[in-house]
């Protein structure tokens, strides 16, 4: 599976916008609500193509979320997108009651997520929404890895009945999936085979995981790379197989290490097949202004941290340390 290549760069939000247009063409009952930043989260594509099915709600994310529920209760597939900071948190109560508890056909787009929002700074860098959204019963949560997968995921959640949340970003990020790459909600993709360590990633950290695996291979370490695009429902089988085959796991996400992908994977592993785990993500900090690439470095979200964590996980496995942290700090493994 070494044929994965960098195909250029493009923001995932473009995939979301294009996916909405595909859905609009296919289904008359798709409607989209705007929250004043339509050109940022690319709902503007749908607005241009289907103005009669696009409704501006203004800067009112709570209202937009519940209005979406009203449309869904009237037989519509209702999308609302804003920045994750506002479409997962400002409207948290609405997501919980009107969307999740009602179990209605509403799809929420969380754009401009993660540290790579960049210069806008901490207020706009949502790093906690995986943790919140995945605790809501009835909810599906997807975090696609690149532009094309975001397009496929947008179409897929539109075609799946029930509450769904899709997380995507602002800046141009590596494209490496193709039309042939499978995408199925709830089915993680193994992008690279290996039996020494499993790297489970989502979003743009999937690409970093591939880079880390490539570096590890130079040391004779074969890492399995899993694109865990669906956080909920999580693919238990693929994760347990990875634990059994590889004996240790590293998770990687552009999100707080608490309660996100790492937490979701740990819940599966601890229960079914405990192995040493390491977590790459933002370590209980708020972000700050900066360029996406420098923030990725500053907050430890690059292949290097994944690489170091993989070595650490392997050492813990080899020494038989499942729960004890008697190994050196990650810093010591950095090259």
């Amino acid at each position: 599976m070494n044929e994965i290549k960098l195909l250029g760069k493009k923001p995932t939000r473009h995939g979301f916008g294009e996916g909405l247009v595909v859905l609009g063409e296919k289904y008359d009952n798709v409607i989209v609500l705007g929250g004043d930043i339509t050109g940022s989260v690319m709902t503007s594509y749908f607005q241009e193509r289907f103005p009669e099915r696009f409704f501006s709600i203004g800067v009112a994310e709570q209202n937009a979320t519940t209005i979406a529920a009203g449309f869904a209760l009237s037989g519509k597939i209702a999308f609302f997108a804003s920045y994750s900071a506002f479409s997962a948190f400002r409207n948290a109560d609405q997501l919980r009651i009107s969307i999740a508890y009602n179990d209605v056909n509403v799809k929420i787009g969380g754009g401009h997520s993660g540290i790579t929002v960049g210069p806008d700074g901490a207020t706009h860098q949502a790093l906690e929404e995986i943790s919140f959204v995945r605790t809501l019963p009835n909810m599906t949560l997807v975090v696609p890895c690149d532009y094309l997968e975001t397009k496929k995921a947008t179409i897929a959640i539109g075609e799946k009945f029930g509450p769904c949340f899709i997380r995507f970003g602002r800046s141009a990020v590596p494209m490496f999936t193709t039309d042939e790459t499978p995408f199925e909600i709830g089915k993680a993709n193994i992008l690279r085979e290996g039996k020494d360590v499993a790297i489970v990633a989502c979003g743009l950290l999937v690409w970093e995981a591939l880079l880390a695996a490539e570096e590890l291979s130079k040391k004779g370490i074969n890492a399995r790379v899993i694109n865990n695009h669906t956080i909920k429902p999580i693919d238990v089988e693929t994760l347990v197989n990875a634990a059994r085959d590889c004996g240790c796991i590293v998770t990687a996400e552009e999100h707080q290490v608490h309660g996100g992908l790492g937490g979701a994977v740990a819940e599966v592993i601890v229960k079914n097949y405990p192995v040493p785990m390491e977590f790459v993500g933002v370590r209980d900090k708020f972000g700050c202004s900066g360029e996406p690439e420098e923030l990725m470095v500053k907050f430890g979200l690059t292949w290097k941290e994944i690489y170091a964590s993989a070595l650490k996980a392997i050492e813990r496995k080899d020494k038989g340390f499942i729960g004890l942290r008697q190994v050196k700090d990650v810093e010591d493994y950095k090259e």
Partner: protein, 292 residues
């Protein structure tokens, strides 16, 4: 002597009635409320008794179009109880309309009952259009429904929703009002139960919402002020909404109904401590005697 509670199986038709015909229906609903809350040992007595007259006209006065035998009928008008804590009055009303047996009223708030403490859409209780109870959400859902009907499906359905007056202290309520005015939702009828009571005291003391009629006017509503216990005024208000809708007035309608919390039970009337309390056995006995 212990209080023995029974619910009759009487139902009422939905048809145009003379004002005086509603008092029998409202009394039946008020008795249901007292009985079911007494059995539940928790719940909201005040606002439910206070809105019983409005519910009687709305559901049994030929105002709303619905079919209790076909609750999902796609031409029905919809009612959203944004003030979800008032559900005992809605549960009684729906049972008396024939959506389900009055037997269910025995089990309000009990484990396994479809009559949840606040309406739960997951219970699939016929006539319930959405979960509500987190204040401010139901009215916003109603706005979404009205937008879907008027702007996408372009049908003749109407959406009714009821909020409390303490509820409009929630900011999202005014986001909903802004959208309703913006989209000229003349198919939306917003009923504001204005009893000036909330858990902590008088609305004007806890956080004044006044002048509330002027606020709705500013949000581009047609505002109708009524006495929420005067059947003639209630009927006329709904008639005005229907004429607003039929003439495509281009404005949503709000009916601001002055009501008395606990109406019909002397010791509960206009006392805010009855917002969230049920009657005990002694109180229920007295209440039921007064509601004969």
């Amino acid at each position: 002597m212990a209080l023995e509670v029974t619910f009759s199986d009487k139902t009422f038709d939905n048809k145009r009635r003379k004002p005086e015909e509603f008092s029998e229906i409202a009394l039946e609903i008020r008795r249901d409320i007292i009985k079911s809350l007494y059995l539940a040992k928790s719940g909201h007595s005040g606002g439910t008794l206070g809105t019983s007259d409005i519910f009687s006209v709305l559901f049994f006065g030929g105002v709303m179009k619905y079919n209790p035998k076909k609750p999902d009928w796609n031409e029905r008008d919809r009612f959203v109880l944004s003030a979800g804590h008032l559900c005992p009055v809605l549960y009684s009303t729906l049972a008396r309309a024939g959506y389900y047996s009055t037997e269910e009223l025995y089990r309000l708030r009990k484990y396994g009952s479809r009559l949840q403490g606040h309406p739960g859409f997951d219970m699939k209780l016929p006539g319930i259009e959405s979960s509500t109870g987190s204040l401010g959400q139901g009215i916003s859902i109603a706005v979404g429904m009205a937008m879907s009907d008027k702007l996408v499906d372009k049908n003749n359905r109407r959406v009714f929703a009821l909020t409390g007056d303490g509820e409009v202290e929630e900011g999202v309520v005014w986001e909903a009002a802004m959208a309703a005015g913006n989209y000229k939702l003349d198919n939306l009828c917003w009923i504001l139960d204005n009893n000036d009571c909330q858990i902590d005291g008088r609305v004007k003391d806890v956080m004044s919402i006044y002048p509330v009629d002027k606020k709705f006017e500013a949000f581009r509503f047609d505002v109708i002020n009524i006495d929420g216990h005067n059947y003639t005024e209630i009927i006329n208000a709904f008639n005005k909404f229907i004429s607003n809708n039929e003439s495509k007035i281009g404005k949503p309608t709000v009916i601001i109904a002055k009501t008395i919390m606990g109406k019909g039970v002397s010791f509960m009337e206009d006392k805010y401590i009855w917002h969230g309390n049920p009657p005990n056995e002694e109180q229920a006995k007295i209440a039921l005697e007064e509601l004969m």
